[in-house]
Symmetry: D2
Subunit: 287 residues, 4 copies
């Protein structure tokens, strides 16, 4: 009368710092790695029989152990390589595991000296590799890239219903925190493709004269699809971080688009996918 | 060469307090409402033509306006009713909008007096209604319900590989923060069904002698499916909030399962769906 | 030309779960313990000479080790006792340490069964013990107790300047998150005094017909000072969690104090100390 | 029997964006401003008489109104100037207000174009001005500057007691999130002094061969006192963000200082003040 449906398990947020000391100028990779495995795991759910369960503790150990051979100029060079290695390891080494998903966040550091660094605090680089024994799916992206245009943004001509009170404007602040995920349809130079995609997201945001955040979203996605041949699809989730012009007339002052109140909640949330013509939409990270 | 894929937009986290003053003993409903709409919105993405765009500001106003007639003993009585009303309103009143998704979180308050309350701080009640003009999909649940068993939990007999170092145990702390979403396959008494499901999750956690968190997850889901006839499917995401027994032998002390270190990260994450026999798995909230 | 001023060091946020298994009905104490030590520590600052430095790792171990003999019906029964023990230990056992401050947060759990619990999520109980070899200073309190009155709150007759636009009101929502610290001037029954103080804070908030949050703050403090003889002073920090009545007139609707928007920022912040007559004000936790 | 002690009130976290549009290349100042006022306010606390209360809403409006004349090349140029203006305004314009404290956080943005920006996400600049009609006290600083040395850090020769199990090391990761507050004893070029102090904090951290975080703290403070003549005192609060070398021997692997686990809690917390010789220690931000 009751049955087990889809399931997965793993270790989340393994915080790993890898120091490459192969030259006197050290290099850092600062990661948070999450693993999720699925397969023939009915016995543990129904009967508490753990004989097929690779512990999440062992998964954590595996992440650390594999890091010993990565990010040092010889093994995996980028988080996509590392996630691919891990995902393939779990599926090929554990008989009951038929699929693995490895997600990695990478935090950037700025160099202050040969072995000194300051955390950059800007965008976080991400990747999620899903592997089921066939073709791996590599979805990379970034999050928490906060962008703002203080000119070049209008919003008017929208639908009006009984509840519409918003004034039309030809000059507003446009600000967002970019959350982007893109799907590669083949292996690529991960670092270069990432840097290109990130730079295109920023330049498209800056250079689009915007009539809606939807339009800006599409322009950002279009730039990435056109500029990075190995990306087939990109999903963007863009909160509209509202900045309201303060009405100073009660104090006898004018506000010529200079003083704004930055609001936390509620916020608009614009989400959409842009695809290379003919590609199948697979990303629903925002759904 | 580039095309627009799936997209949606709306206002997120409209923080709404509804006070029912119809008797001298007030009642509170404290909500966070998020709206997402989709439909024929290509023009705004490609050309900045907003003529079909109902502003997210108007969506926010609609939430407030509809609250005037809800939660007062006459109109919508529960968050599911309120989300249904809103979702249907957007789809039926806006020609281009073909689907709406309304998500609500509700925060509970304890009564201190006729018009005085303390926020409970325990679990948050949730619902998400999706409506596309056909049958609405109602998925309710809860989050942040933190549970702990100090006995009745074992973990042994698991697979061992090169990276397995975890000791087997017949007595460990089992703790989690329950995130549950369940799908109703018909209208029901929303408040009663919610309370029953929540209580069953708690009692199943407490009463299951556990050999793995997976087993506890299945028992929790099974109890809900068996105990609430209108629920067809439940998806559970259960972090394993590790509590490690402190090794006191270096100080010449014994630790008989009394002193534990509560670890933040990394954590196990066990996710699974339990279904009524014959039901189609629709929930992938955890995916 | 440069000199070392006041300094302290220690281990912060040691997350400790103590399970009392002395009866078949277990009891939980869930704590976060922070230690700060000060004394003759110039050598480590100026010359990197660590011979007088008790490591913060050893401080953490001490917290765990002392917990083995506490909270089990024999040793320390309450967080104040435990903090006193720890503070005295560090000062008396380490020659160079002349003062110790031990701060503890305690998270409450509700019982679900003999060995099953749900975290309550309401207020957090706190204590800070400072000991310098003389009389220990015990400051206890609570935080994150969110209270709301939906009637009995007015705000009018305030000063007006050029920038004052707020409308006067005889009926507003009053909501806050209580952060309170009180100073005991002698040993007491810690658990009973805590429960009494907490209950008085809640009842004073609920029962005061308020003309300002300042007035409510004073009433809350006064109740505690009058109701708990061992408390000499209480410091309260009360954010004014604004709930704005939504103007529905643009939609042709009335809002009779029923629909409110809960705002995050900015917020009012009202802070003050209430003293037993003749007591010296020592608390500046809010400063 | 009960009396009112020290008290203050105000508006906290006014989120303000100031766009300087005086040239085609816009400039942004992104601030969070908090105001606290104190004075002869017994009547509102004891009797709900608000006639002397300048509303916190008016304080918020004042912040916005004053911003209209600031940060545009003519009025206040830096957050210290702006806080001074506001603090003096409240004390001089409100008869009952005898002291004002204005705290400002500033978030930095990187330029992407004439009117396009990306939030930097690195350190937050801060200032707190306290004014009581006499000499204003200006305390500026920064927070959330995360620094890491992957070499040049040792920790050994420390005290051992029964609970000391930490191994000595001549090579460890040293990482912290700098929270610094420094007191100016005269007016200065605020922006230049800030930039110099920040750069000295970073270079001192990077260049000090460290035998303890205390030693690094002192070196950082000393550099600032010696390098910025207008700073009399600096208070530093430095969490020791532990990175533990992972023991790979159970997997038959060596770890030569390359793979680390970044731990969240507990953490060491090292706090201290460094003073110009003869200065009075006033800062106890960390206490």
């Amino acid at each position: 009368m009751v049955m087990l449906g889809p399931n997965q398990y793993g270790k989340a947020e393994v915080r790993l710092l890898r120091v490459n000391r192969s030259s006197s100028s050290h290099e850092l990779r600062d990661l948070s790695v999450s693993v999720a495995l699925s397969g023939a795991l009915t016995a543990t759910h129904l009967a508490g029989d753990n004989s097929a369960v690779l512990t999440t503790d062992a998964q954590k150990n595996t992440v650390f152990a594999f890091a010993a051979d990565a990010f040092d100029g010889r093994g995996a060079a980028e988080i996509e390589d590392f996630a691919l290695l891990l995902a393939e390891h779990f599926v090929t080494s554990q008989e009951v595991i038929s699929a693995a998903r490895v997600s990695i966040e990478e935090y950037a550091w700025e160099r202050l000296g040969d072995h000194s660094f300051a955390r950059s605090g800007r965008e976080v680089r991400t990747t999620t590799v899903t592997y089921d024994g066939q073709q791996p799916l590599v979805v990379s992206g970034l999050k928490d890239l906060v962008l703002l245009n203080s000119a070049g943004s209008e919003f008017w001509g929208f639908a009006k219903d009984r509840y519409t009170t918003l004034a039309e404007t030809t000059d507003r602040i446009l600000a967002t925190a970019v959350n982007a995920q893109w799907r590669y349809d083949r292996e690529t130079q991960w670092a270069e493709s990432y840097a290109t995609a990130r730079d295109l997201l920023m330049s498209a945001f800056a250079q689009t004269h915007s009539y809606s955040l939807q339009q800006t979203l599409y322009a950002m996605g279009k730039q990435v699809i056109e500029g990075v041949p190995d990306i087939a699809e990109i999903s963007l989730s863009l909160p509209n971080k509202h900045h309201f012009e303060v009405d100073m007339s009660p104090f006898g002052l004018e506000n010529n688009g200079e003083v704004f109140y930055a609001s936390d909640r509620p916020y608009g949330l614009i989400q959409g996918t842009v695809l290379r013509d003919g590609a199948e939409p697979l990303l629903r990270g925002w759904a």
